[in-house]
Symmetry: C2
Subunit: 193 residues, 2 copies
DNA sequence: GTCTATAAATTGATAGAC
DNA sequence: GTCTATCAATTTATAGAC
């Protein structure tokens, strides 16, 4: 991996700029001309690095999904009471958001227009399913109130987590840990019996 | 799939179909050809009803914003303790989401690419500001825990509300009232001291 | 209120020189 | 690794007939 200097890009350093522009203007609202302008190179130069616009999107979505699924495989997500494993997944998901914000932001805005986007949506649903299992288990354990529907709780909980991409900016305002603390206090605090 | 044999629209009935397609494919991902196909008429016929694609967006965003601001002017949002007024705004915002789901969904996805979108974002920020005032007041009253930042709480709270557009569908699964109940239990429940 | 036909601009992508 | 030049397809929008 050559540390990018001035007017020379690799497939990955190019991706960072591209994803930023995708998030600013929306993926569909971004033309290859927009990307070229942001990169400071011409449209055709982009095709030297990647197959096209959709391949760029695929790389970005893959990076976000890999980071999120890695959380589910951490020890803290596999050991202990379900309620604590759930808190671990929530806190570590916020950490992923902090670390990979542009990529996760892009993932959460995908609509399913292309096969690339549909595949990403399918993986997102798998992630949600595994979290929902955790919520159901925590309720069965008696650690979360049982008068609320597990599927509904899961959606509200991760709806709150995902909504962070709308305003959270690393290094500005509250830190990722402070946000995670407040989020856990508000959500899990209200879900405990 | 829609509009088998009903080739006559008004500006508002056309808007319903257009907004649905905008939400399915994204605004930028929707061409006038896509709209024409969904409407069962030709592209040029659309221009008989509206000035263009962006005017269609403007009408839709206006409808969502009007409904949301109307909530702030209801008696329940102006009388009583701040904490109760806040709960009123949350519950009634969920009701607006239920009633005007496609329009609010579109509003929440706007990125600010055009003047029309920028104006909508400015009005959204004004709505958020008025909710933040309510949260700050409820904390000052001692009705919500004071160890959390009011601005942060506001963002988490309405982040949760806004995330409903990602999965809530009227008449499918939980009702709007059930969703509002669960949401208030989880969020305000966790925010009470 | 809808149509056909078409203009005018923009789009994603390729070829080949340096 | 970047460039100029160009293409074919698509896009928003208009003109004018029925």
């Amino acid at each position: 991996m050559p540390a990018a200097a001035r007017p020379s890009y690799s497939a990955t350093s190019l991706l960072d700029v591209a994803v930023q522009v995708f998030n600013e203007r929306g993926y569909d609202g971004t033309s290859m001309g927009d990307l070229a302008a942001a990169l400071g190179i011409t449209k055709s130069s982009i095709y030297h690095h990647v197959a096209g616009k959709e391949a760029l999107l695929g790389l970005a979505l893959d990076r976000a999904l890999s980071a999120l699924f890695a959380v589910l495989d951490e020890p803290g997500a596999a050991e202990g009471r379900a309620r604590d494993r759930l808190e671990h997944v929530v806190r570590r998901s916020v950490a992923v958001l902090d670390r990979e914000l542009p990529f996760v932001t892009l993932l959460l805005r995908v609509r399913g227009n292309t096969p690339t986007e549909q595949a990403a949506l399918a993986r997102r649903r798998e992630f949600d399913r595994r979290v929902a299992d955790l919520v159901a288990e925590a309720i069965a354990d008696g650690d979360l109130r049982d008068d609320l529907d597990p599927a509904l709780v899961t959606r509200l909980l991760f709806g709150t987590v995902n909504s962070l991409v709308e305003w959270y900016r690393p290094g500005r305002g509250a830190s990722a840990d402070e946000v995670a603390d407040a989020l856990v206090e508000m959500t899990l605090g209200g879900l405990e019996r």
